[in-house]
Symmetry: D3
Subunit: 307 residues, 6 copies
Amino acid sequence: MNENTKKIISKSVGEIAENYDSSDILMLRDEAPLPDRNAVIEIVKGVRSVMFPGYFEGKVSCGAEPEYYIGSTLTELYEKLLRQLTLAFLYKKKRNVSDAAARRRAEEVCDGFFEKLPEIQRTLLKDVEAGFDGDPAAKSREEIICSYPGFLAICVYRIAHVLYAEGVPFIPRIMTEYAHGATGIDINSGAEIGEYFFIDHGTGVVIGETTEIGDRVKLYQGVTLGALSTRDGQKLSGKKRHPTVGSDVTIYANATILGGKTVIGDGAVIGGNTFITESVASGARVSAKAQELDIRTGRIKDIEYYI
Amino acid sequence: MNENTKKIISKSVGEIAENYDSSDILMLRDEAPLPDRNAVIEIVKGVRSVMFPGYFEGKVSCGAEPEYYIGSTLTELYEKLLRQLTLAFLYKKKRNVSDAAARRRAEEVCDGFFEKLPEIQRTLLKDVEAGFDGDPAAKSREEIICSYPGFLAICVYRIAHVLYAEGVPFIPRIMTEYAHGATGIDINSGAEIGEYFFIDHGTGVVIGETTEIGDRVKLYQGVTLGALSTRDGQKLSGKKRHPTVGSDVTIYANATILGGKTVIGDGAVIGGNTFITESVASGARVSAKAQELDIRTGRIKDIEYYI
Amino acid sequence: MNENTKKIISKSVGEIAENYDSSDILMLRDEAPLPDRNAVIEIVKGVRSVMFPGYFEGKVSCGAEPEYYIGSTLTELYEKLLRQLTLAFLYKKKRNVSDAAARRRAEEVCDGFFEKLPEIQRTLLKDVEAGFDGDPAAKSREEIICSYPGFLAICVYRIAHVLYAEGVPFIPRIMTEYAHGATGIDINSGAEIGEYFFIDHGTGVVIGETTEIGDRVKLYQGVTLGALSTRDGQKLSGKKRHPTVGSDVTIYANATILGGKTVIGDGAVIGGNTFITESVASGARVSAKAQELDIRTGRIKDIEYYI
Amino acid sequence: MNENTKKIISKSVGEIAENYDSSDILMLRDEAPLPDRNAVIEIVKGVRSVMFPGYFEGKVSCGAEPEYYIGSTLTELYEKLLRQLTLAFLYKKKRNVSDAAARRRAEEVCDGFFEKLPEIQRTLLKDVEAGFDGDPAAKSREEIICSYPGFLAICVYRIAHVLYAEGVPFIPRIMTEYAHGATGIDINSGAEIGEYFFIDHGTGVVIGETTEIGDRVKLYQGVTLGALSTRDGQKLSGKKRHPTVGSDVTIYANATILGGKTVIGDGAVIGGNTFITESVASGARVSAKAQELDIRTGRIKDIEYYI
Amino acid sequence: MNENTKKIISKSVGEIAENYDSSDILMLRDEAPLPDRNAVIEIVKGVRSVMFPGYFEGKVSCGAEPEYYIGSTLTELYEKLLRQLTLAFLYKKKRNVSDAAARRRAEEVCDGFFEKLPEIQRTLLKDVEAGFDGDPAAKSREEIICSYPGFLAICVYRIAHVLYAEGVPFIPRIMTEYAHGATGIDINSGAEIGEYFFIDHGTGVVIGETTEIGDRVKLYQGVTLGALSTRDGQKLSGKKRHPTVGSDVTIYANATILGGKTVIGDGAVIGGNTFITESVASGARVSAKAQELDIRTGRIKDIEYYI
Amino acid sequence: MNENTKKIISKSVGEIAENYDSSDILMLRDEAPLPDRNAVIEIVKGVRSVMFPGYFEGKVSCGAEPEYYIGSTLTELYEKLLRQLTLAFLYKKKRNVSDAAARRRAEEVCDGFFEKLPEIQRTLLKDVEAGFDGDPAAKSREEIICSYPGFLAICVYRIAHVLYAEGVPFIPRIMTEYAHGATGIDINSGAEIGEYFFIDHGTGVVIGETTEIGDRVKLYQGVTLGALSTRDGQKLSGKKRHPTVGSDVTIYANATILGGKTVIGDGAVIGGNTFITESVASGARVSAKAQELDIRTGRIKDIEYYI
């Protein structure tokens, strides 16, 4: 490293150190680290493995007693989750909460989480059915469990939702962003989603924090259930900002449905590429408009596709 | 772990064990594991490496004789693929097929796959050309091979398609879902796709199982070539459900084209954000409609963009 | 391996070796390897870690002096980047440039890059503010830094842009494709993007090479700022082909805006799922058209959503 | 790689291929690989972990029920050991034994091994006592378990001995050579060793295949219990060739005791650096002779140290 | 797994769980894990790397300022060591010491350790000189640092000795057993060893806890400086049990010197394979006796080798 | 980290930086790193794998043509060795040799090394025979190849010796110290060793740089073929300092034989624990003296064991 480079590095080192001082979010304190992203993802994968034994990470056999496998896996997961929950509560409330109180709260949440696991597993088995019934390209239920990104996203959402409901900071977001990165499906852990839910292909799907969805709903790739934009974001925090979708609704690819007052009635079918900011009646069908130019005649005709 | 937590864990262990018993897809048997996802992905990467030496995973030089490198890599890949194929045939047909028969079938498929590799390589070189000609932002052909997600997705599709055509269960899906996760491009391995194919950017592209695509077709991000939704999914299994796209067609971003009877004629240009469920004539241009609100006058005018 | 298989392998080995000979991009020479994708990604992660200490990869404390941590990290990163830059310059210009000249050019670029780091860090802190103000679902600024894919993509873009501006081959592309793969957001490193930039959710966003974007712009998932398609790609290389977006613009999900002459005026709001190939006035609001079929009456009505 | 180098490589490739053909131990057949060394070592470590929970590889807590941890670990170990045993029986007897027969034999041995585990654990706890009583430098029993090479070697020997007794090929040797490499202590798995056995420091200790050792014996580093040399090795295979050591014997560092007829009587003390090829009576003390040169007077005197 | 095997596993699980209950060293409590062996070894390697930059683990350059590298490495090491020290103090004294007190004691020891590091480094540089002067086979000082097992063992000893002197439990032993495993040289961290110390080859060397060694001493492989055996081990704990060796002494291979009252005077030369349990005068030379059998004549003569 | 600790760290950082400045072996320059220890060990393992296919690291099958496997492995090894040789020549002679000259010299040595590989392989096959004939505990030749530490040490020695003979710095030492660490057998790469060489058990064996050994020699654990000690080490560098051992010699455990003029005649048998500094005639047998104390009578008798 020549002298000039050394000078440049030294100068940048000094400036970055100044930047650290200038922002209270840059100089994280030793005693209160954030939850660890990789550890949280490992927890999600572990929970998934125990709910669907033999599908992931090479674990095939439960051996002499399935209880051995389930019990030892849950024990390990309990300790890992407890540690991350404690970090989350300490970080978020660091000025108001003692170590012991954060630990106690983490134990409460952790206990509740493990109590709900069998129920989550049963719900996910219904989501597998929804996928198998909804996709002729699925060759088997097993394929859905081990390969379908939509199922991965729902699985992670259902796990994260339990923690969101307990007001856990950071961790539900880390979980759903892991699924988002892996699948392109962004389900906020705050959404309320019914049974037999299926997302086909899924890339680009967004389901916002205050979305409500009924039973037997099917979404295709690129569907947004979002909020209208705001420039004063934090003032709307906690308010209902995302649509309510009834039961037995189908929403085709790339439909964009926005707003907290927007209700999609039961049984409605929303066409692809629509942009919807008002409610749609039960049983209605909505489709986008297009036009076709006949290149030989130069004539343009409206085309209105039905679904 | 305190006594209450121990009780909660024990109870959940018991319930999850019951869930295992209640579903025939949860208690995977020792003797018939699923193909291993990571192993399948390693095979895809290995095949890609040998077709494009020097681009991936640090392999640069072929040394004394390229045959050494190619031969040893193919030998390793053959054994890995044979093992995964055997697992796939055993799992799928486990009640009807002996170990030896599954192994024989796996050998047949494996032999056929390696016989076709040089041809696949030549086809992919044409896809590189299509990318270089189709994207002014491409600085070199090398950049397309090593960085373009569209090329990765096509490469994996062309590999997986050979196995799909032989009726291999699970593995083609695992391959294309790997590419889907890495690129956001979901090409079902059953699709039939011609030469000089290019997908630009690609996130959100979906190409369904029974899609047919001609030569020199170019797709942008978010394009769906999909099926109309069904609630009786498995009855349509194996039926033509996805569009037929001619040669020399360009389809802009986020166009959604659905249905097994929908034909996009040769040379057509489909505008972005269109939703199409009927056929489009050769050479036609289709575009979506929009409206513009002049915020000062309050007037709304239709806008019809041409492409 | 039986004799038939051996024959098949040998034949394919021979054909692949012939394919190597037939294409000048397949037989990479020992002396001029491409930059290493994994190494480049490690550099991006390292730069991100030093700008946001404590958020990534377990590094929490700066210990006795933050300068120790910053200085040692920058030193390591300098060496790694220098090596990859040298490879990039050698490969690209291999016929015209000596090793020493490539190394010298790499040092120049590397020095410039490290000089700009503190400024990039300050700009990114403004992007964090934009995210916090723009998203009511954000529980804290920390969450944006550690979890938001939009922030990851902008961060990588701002790093890669410095190298793009110096004409570095391969490396800026590898960087932004890494972010693209992780987030579904594809920002070409050539784009010019102002301050307080926020992309929400982000999957499917495409921002082309010659795009210009003002300050305080907010994009949602699936937005394309792209070029019109061309079949003679390389002739347009370097030309302005992508839109210009003013300041204070909001663009909703899945809007597709194309063309080098297309200007979106300051303060405009572009509705979701629009397809736009012409300029939009300052302050205008553009939205897509749709129609709704009342399934009971069979009547269709146009619906024109406002935003 | 220049042309000359290419020629050299090609020539060596050919010659090595010829060497493969010339020796029946070089061209291992696909169908019958050797047991995997790393897998065998992992089994040893796993068995050790379950016998001494919390000491190795980070496992600390048994959680809700110790049975979960023990059961799941034994299940995993059972499958791993079964696989290696099957390989061992197939390789060794490949001409005479069917796959199914090898598998059955492996199951028998594996069952027996896991049945004996609790007993091995109890014996090892006595060895810990022997170490704690025999070494004033031991600060705690825990230190012996987690750090003492002598204890590691005995632990591995007691595990391997069960498999040796069942005539398992390769695997007992791989196990004891793992301990040999880690500690410098080479205990052949065929030796018969009593309770409360302690080896202090241990580097260089050799205990041959047909050695017999009583209870409460203590060895120091460098002690050999070996065979007289032979040039017709295989003729002596299976014959008693190594010493018999009674109970309550102490053998100091670097003593070399050879021969199948050599008996060291109960309670004997063997001095360091002795070379012994005949029996030693119970209670006897044996020590080496030395001489001291007084450098000032030039006089030499015999020195006979007592122990 | 067949039913019989399941029964065997279940039975062993139960017995092992009983064994856990029967021994207070087997059921390690959650709250007080042992220090982590791998973490301790990483600390040793880290300290070694910072004292000898460029020799180990790929670190070559100190970049802009050596202080960056040293400072960031020491900071990381401080945190790691502090954590392991806290665990060690908590475990050892768990009934008497609060978490806070253990942490405070750990900080004291850690501070002292890092204060002494530069001095240790200077002492080790003298040991390098001793090696270079003492071994004609050493081609350079660098070779001694990066390859000589004797130097590794001394380096680890000098690090561990600082912690031993502070009464740290477990950790000094883990450190020296790491070196013992890697080199076959077992130096108890309690020994007192002077400057310019050199161990050549080293396998089998044992230096006991209460050994004292002067300056400029040279040991060969297999040398034991040990204690006389005892069956009441713990009663002698803390007593002087190992030899005192003066300055400028040379001890040849495999010499065994035992006992706390045994003094080897300054400048003495101890021949190989001697067994010594009494003091040797300054300047004396001691050698073992042997006899030679003339195989042709059958005659035996005493041979007394001088050194 | 509290303020006091920060001060201590800062002070130590400064002192260590001073230590760097004070010694010319501590501040390694960027441009001339030492060869990489791990890379050199990988080369040794790779060479071993190609000579004994199927024994190590999971490689079992040579597939279609053994030439593929051999050729690709040698190509990879060639490049790795070439890089390390270049580093070694640059470091050692850094003031006198250009990069290009170092590279040329490295190529020469590398070419020679790969030319000799098939011959080394044939010699090692003879060493396997020597082991099988010499050890009744060997159950098969395969066991010797995959498990015997003596064979590992000889294998590494024969590889390293070729490089020693070419005057390569550092690398032969790194190789043999790797074997030393793994087996406790320290064979200097400079020694000259004949065919059919066998070392049984091996821990503690030392064979010095100028040792010469004939054919069909057998050594046991702890045997030293060493030099007399010197305090002016470097003056003797390159001189004959170690014994000459004839053919058909057997040397029992822990014998120490020293000096460059010491010759052990053909067919001699050296007893265990002897210390020999003068020549031994062909066919002679040498054994150590001991004495036995009858604890009941108090009488001492000389014992002279024969071998």
